[in-house]
């Protein structure tokens, strides 16, 4: 019993496992700031990309919940890891973060292609002539380290991916241009370039139209697969290095050195947010309870309804916070319900009761059939919330109709009066005797 509870406690306390794939041991130091963030939150395992003992999936099961691939130049992974392995890993629900760089190798390129992300050629860099490193690039034409303002390049709206907090911007370094395939409806850009950017070989004349320019270039892309596995693609790795995280923006203003430009690079905060999203630590919801019943009659039948009945649907939404499921925060604002039979007969918004509780009251349509309660919510950065529950809507029983209706009283009267009439007539005919002529004469 004690052992059992200990085991249980251990399992409860266990952090999610994360595999960190690096190119070399040196990177542990170079990227210590970012990696320490991960070490705090996860049980991390470090492997080199060319390690012969590199495994992600064994016997059809994931060995880790999350994997972060910080080896942009990988041509071929060691062990049994192939592009297909990553597909299997995500199909099993594993989350993935993939870093690229201008020296991108084939393995990463194919991994991107597998999920509908296209990289520019190896050696090309994303460059900007607007806010580049003035001191470093004074002489050459390599403007691949530049500043990007959050206001013009970050994913907007209220979403849990980068969060609402005020960012100054990012310092981009040695990024390879990334493009999202237009047909890929699951992918979305998290950070885009501004319109001054383009992608080409540094210090070389531009001889043809670059693969991507301006806002076409995506620097950070997110994908949420249909099974809610999350993938984040970063086009630059070195921007997360200790050195660049500490860099201030000041040198990147071309000439205008005003106060605003002294702000800290927000890459640290940004990475925390995006990593949190990509590892299912923010924006992860579930419908914990979904029930329906007749209005104010919670414990009565709810396996079928009759037409035109008033019913009430309750859904409790929970959020995944630090390995626990807690009532959804205020970030989760609304929820929609369909009452569906080939077409939605009812489509309405739940009423938010607070504390993750949502209720909806409606009248069952005047049509019988097999209906489905459908909750299908795809909000950017949120888990796809999908819930489908089949319910039968029946016509009333033969004895559920009104027994006597007022408008039928003339008919009742006519039938009874006729019965009476027949009886009287029968009596009259049977017992009536014509007055005999003899009597008449008398």
């Amino acid at each position: 019993m004690i052992i059992h509870s200990l085991l249980f406690a251990a399992a409860f306390a266990a952090k999610a496992k994360m595999l960190v794939v690096l190119e070399n041991e040196r990177q542990k130091n170079e990227y210590a700031t970012v990696l320490n963030q991960l070490n705090e939150k996860f049980e991390t395992y470090y492997k080199l990309a060319d390690d012969a003992d590199l495994h992600l999936v064994k016997y059809g099961k994931n060995l880790y919940q999350n994997a972060i691939i910080m080896a942009p130049s990988t041509e071929e992974f060691g062990g049994d890891v192939k592009t297909k392995t990553f597909v299997d890993f995500t199909q099993n629900g594993g989350n993935l973060m993939v870093f690229a760089s201008s020296n991108i190798g084939d393995a990463i390129r194919e991994l991107g292609a597998e999920f509908g992300i296209e990289y520019d050629e190896t050696g090309t860099k994303v460059m900007s002539h607007q806010l580049y490193d003035f001191e470093r690039d004074a002489l050459n034409h390599d403007h691949s380290r530049f500043q990007l303002k959050a206001s013009e390049s970050f994913l907007g709206g209220s979403q849990p991916i980068v969060g609402p907090a005020g960012y100054a911007g990012l310092l981009i370094d040695n990024a390879v241009a990334m493009k999202i395939d237009k047909k890929n409806t699951l992918a979305f850009p998290i950070v885009k370039c501004n319109s001054y950017c383009y992608s080409w070989f540094p210090n070389e004349p531009i001889t043809e139209y670059p693969m991507a320019v301006g806002r076409d270039i995506t620097l950070v892309a997110g994908i949420q697969l249909r099974n809610n596995a999350r993938i984040a693609f970063f086009s630059s790795m070195s921007m997360f290095s200790n050195k660049l995280i500490r860099q201030k923006f000041i040198t990147y203003w071309n000439n205008d050195k005003n106060e605003h430009a002294r702000e800290q690079n927000s890459v640290n905060k940004f990475s925390m947010h995006v990593f949190g999203w990509a590892t299912n630590n923010s924006g992860t919801f579930r419908i914990a309870v979904f029930k329906h019943n007749l209005v104010d009659k919670e414990n009565q039948r709810n396996d079928f309804y009759y037409i035109n009945e008033e019913i009430e649907v309750t859904a409790i939404v929970q959020e995944h916070v630090e390995d626990n499921w807690e009532p959804a925060s205020l970030l989760f604002e609304n929820l929609w319900l369909d009452f569906h039979r080939l077409d939605p007969f009812v489509r309405m918004q739940f009423e938010n009761q607070g504390g993750g509780k949502f209720t909806a009251k409606f009248k069952v349509p005047d049509t019988y059939g097999v209906f489905n309660f459908i909750v299908w919510q795809t909000k950017l950065g949120h888990t796809y919330l999908e819930h489908k529950e089949q319910i039968t809507v029946r016509p009333p029983r033969h004895d559920m109709y009104e027994r006597f209706i007022a408008s039928a009283y003339p008919y009742y009267f006519s039938s009874f009066s006729m019965m009476l009439g027949v009886t009287l007539m029968s009596f009259a005919i049977l017992y009536h005797r014509d007055v005999s002529p003899a009597k008449k004469n008398n």
Binding site: E76, L186, E208
Partner: protein, 742 residues
């Protein structure tokens, strides 16, 4: 006195024997195979009966079947003729009350044979009422074993027709009795029997049109009498009131054209009766002319009234099914779903011989005798025969209504013949009526004494014919009408039987391997069986009430895989089931039915499905190399022939379809949105699972393919390759230099 006793005892014994014969000759299927429900519709009837027996009648009446017509559902109580279920349920209840514990399935299996025995008895009484007891016995013996009736009433064929023919014969008998005696009692008994018929079969429309027609003919012939008035009015009023209590019939008796003839005759009879009364009071000779004029006017007014009401929409026009009885081309053009059913096809002349043997040949003789000796009652037989003949010629399934009347006419013909050549002169009790009506005839016969040799020859020839008839009926019953069609049988070269049980294998697989609420898409033929045997939800079934839903399924089957997938997603389909006979040579498969699916789909979705596109360039419907692209890409083709190209069913080639006798044109079929879930032993049933949308979007290929790809296959435990950890030197530009420089 004792003679009468002997003859009635003999009659009783013969009748009993005949009805038992009728019962036993329907048991081939049970002995050959097992006690199993047959075909398609019986499976629903069985399921409904089971539902009724396990709950109660009111629950059955309110039963909402959510397994059928997903997602529309079906209110069974309001869309079914409950007579069959109540009958079987009643027998079951009765047996169990007596302590004979039987399962409802066995009761259902044996219901039709039991009622066939009763039909023989009812036929005896009807024929006796119309002719005499001798003819009645002949007719009873014929109907007991006539294949035309057996085809619908073998053990296991738990269908409405099984009990409806009994109700039909019985109501006709009671009607003749009522119009002859003119008693309200028999009129009401007719109404009761009619009510039973209404509760059992949609064919009750036949009764409610035939009896008024009889009355109308009698009026035309001036054979009106108060007996007719009493019997018809009681029958009509009570019968229609009761019929309206069947939920499925509802207000149809006063609202639809099918019933308007009976209402019209009812009104006409009132006018006629009133005028007849006036005439009897007035007694004037001049009245006669005015009288007929008035009656004709009345009839005209009633007819015009009915037509007018129909035009105004108060009375529903004839339903398509009814209309197609008069215009044989109507269904093919307007309602393909009706003409797609094999039993709605016109009858081939050979089936008259198969189903009735020599009876069609002797029936006209019987008809001739009937007409010669006509009276008010016998006219009914003439009308009955005429209409049955017509309808049997139009639809194969209406052979069923022809069989009883042909048996009766055959009985009469044989009775007269045997009386003439075999009968004793003083046997007046038996041929009393016939002789009375044909007194002159009789006298002539008496004058010419037939030589004994001729008598003997005729009697022996007729006896031989009757023996042939019995042999034929048994042969047809055993070889053609006793297959459950759920289980198939083939014979091996050595003569032993090989049971092909693919249907049940597939349904059992569905029952045990799929989710409880899995939805299965198949052509409507298999709907009842899937819900009955596999207990799973179906989209369409044999109760073909919703043409557009069926057309949607037809369209899915006829579309290419992508379009079909969209439709299937919309309809919530989890599995697709197709019937394929190409491996075994089983011709009733879905590819052979496919054109009907296309036609039905085209009727509703003419912009998406076109029948022309499914024919080859030569205008043929084929599956070989010359087939059209639409055919090749259709879901039905793909599902039927998936992986069939790998199978060798012919000495020279693989993928040889043994039904169509061609090598299939497309062997390497790839499926995109569905995957094979199960295929039965002989490939008759093939089940496919509809895949969920892929978790991730499609792989990006167009750009990658341009690049030189390294095709090394990484082996397990192999060391990986890194290009470099140090940023690469700005190396050679692989891009093509343009002709100009910046």
């Amino acid at each position: 006195m004792s003679r009468l006793g002997v003859s009635s005892l003999l009659t009783l014994v013969v009748l009993l024997g005949v009805s038992m014969l009728g019962f036993f000759s329907r048991l081939f299927a049970v002995i050959r195979f097992e006690s199993i429900i047959h075909e398609f519709d019986p499976w629903f009837n069985y399921r409904a009966t089971y539902q009724m027996v396990t709950t109660n009648f009111y629950d059955f009446l309110n039963w909402f079947d959510e397994l059928a017509w997903y997602p529309l559902g079906r209110i069974v109580g309001g869309t079914v003729y409950p007579g069959l279920m109540i009958t079987a349920g009643g027998i079951h209840y009765f047996l169990n009350a007596l302590g004979f514990t039987t399962h409802i399935q066995d009761v259902c299996v044996f219901t039709a044979p039991i009622f066939s025995g009763l039909t023989a008895i009812a036929t005896y009484f009807l024929t006796k009422e119309l002719w005499n007891a001798g003819a009645g016995l002949f007719a009873a013996a014929f109907i007991a074993i006539a294949p035309g009736y057996i085809s619908r009433s073998v053990a296991g064929s738990f269908d409405n027709e099984g009990i409806a023919i009994f109700a039909l014969q019985c109501s006709f008998f009671l009607w003749i009795r009522a119009m002859r005696t003119g008693s309200m009692f028999w009129g009401i008994m007719t109404a009761f029997c009619y009510f039973y018929m209404v509760s059992a079969w949609g064919g009750y429309v036949y009764i409610i049109n035939l009896i008024p027609l009889h009355v109308f003919c009698l009026l035309l012939m001036g054979r009106y009498e108060s007996k007719l008035y009493v019997s018809y009015t009681t029958f009509y009023c009570v019968g229609q009131l009761m019929a309206m209590n069947i939920p499925f019939v509802g207000f149809q008796p006063i609202k639809t054209s099918e019933h308007m003839a009976s209402a019209g005759v009812f009104a006409l009879l009132q006018c006629y009766g009133f005028l007849d009364y006036l005439r009897s009071k007035l007694g004037e000779k001049e009245f006669k002319r005015a009288f007929y004029l008035f009656v004709t006017l009345c009839a005209g007014a009633i007819f015009a009234g009915v037509v007018g009401l129909t035009m105004l929409g108060v009375v529903a026009p004839w339903s398509g099914r009814f209309y197609s009885l008069f215009d044989t081309g109507y269904a093919r053009i307007h309602i393909p779903i009706i003409s797609s059913v094999s039993e709605h096809q016109p009858t081939m002349w050979t089936s008259f011989i198969t189903d009735l043997h020599f009876l069609p040949a002797v029936a006209p003789a019987g008809l001739w005798y009937t007409i010669r000796n006509y009276d008010s009652a016998k006219i009914f037989l003439v009308i009955y025969a005429a209409f049955s003949c017509y309808f049997a010629g139009i639809m194969v399934r209406l052979m069923l209504t022809l069989t009883p009347v042909v048996c009766m006419l055959g009985g009469i013909a044989l009775n007269v013949t045997f009386d003439h050549f075999f009968g004793e002169d003083n046997e007046e009790t038996q041929v009393e009526k016939a002789k009375k009506d044909a007194k002159k005839n009789d006298e002539e016969e008496k004058e010419e004494a037939t030589p004994i040799a001729i008598k003997l020859t005729v009697v022996m020839a007729l006896t031989g014919l009757l023996c042939q008839f019995a042999v034929h009926c048994t042969y047809i019953t055993s070889n053609y009408y006793s297959s459950p069609s759920v289980v198939l049988a083939s014979s091996r070269p050595d003569g032993s039987r090989n049971i092909i049980d693919d249907y049940r294998e597939a349904y059992y697989w569905l029952r045990t391997n799929t989710d409880d609420d899995a939805t299965i898409m198949s052509w409507w033929d298999y709907g009842y069986q899937i819900s009955g045997m596999a207990n799973r939800t179906t989209l369409v079934d044999n109760n073909t009430w919703n043409n557009s839903h069926i057309a949607m399924v037809g369209r899915a089957m006829a579309s290419n895989e992508d379009d079909a997938y969209d439709i299937m997603q919309e309809l919530g389909v989890d599995y697709v089931l197709v019937i394929f006979g190409g491996l075994l040579g089983y011709s009733g498969d879905d590819i052979n039915k496919f054109l009907w699916m296309v036609r039905i789909a085209e009727g509703e979705h003419p912009n998406h499905v076109k029948e022309q596109n499914f024919f080859s360039a030569q205008g043929q419907y084929t599956v070989d190399k010359s087939m059209s692209k639409t055919m090749k890409n259709s879901l039905m083709y793909k599902l039927s022939y998936y992986k069939f190209g790998e199978v060798r069913t012919h000495a020279q080639m693989s993928g040889f379809d043994r039904v169509r006798n061609v090598e299939i044109g497309h062997k390497n079929i790839k499926l995109k949105h569905v995957e094979e879930a199960y295929t039965t032993e002989h490939w008759i049933v093939r089940i496919y699972r509809v895949k969920k949308p892929s978790n991730k979007s499609k792989k990006l290929t167009h750009k990658l393919s341009q690049r030189k790809k390294k095709t090394k296959v990484a082996r397990k435990g192999r060391k990986g390759v890194l290009s470099t950890t140090i940023p690469a030197a700005k190396g050679a530009n692989t891009r093509q230099k343009a002709s100009f420089e910046l």
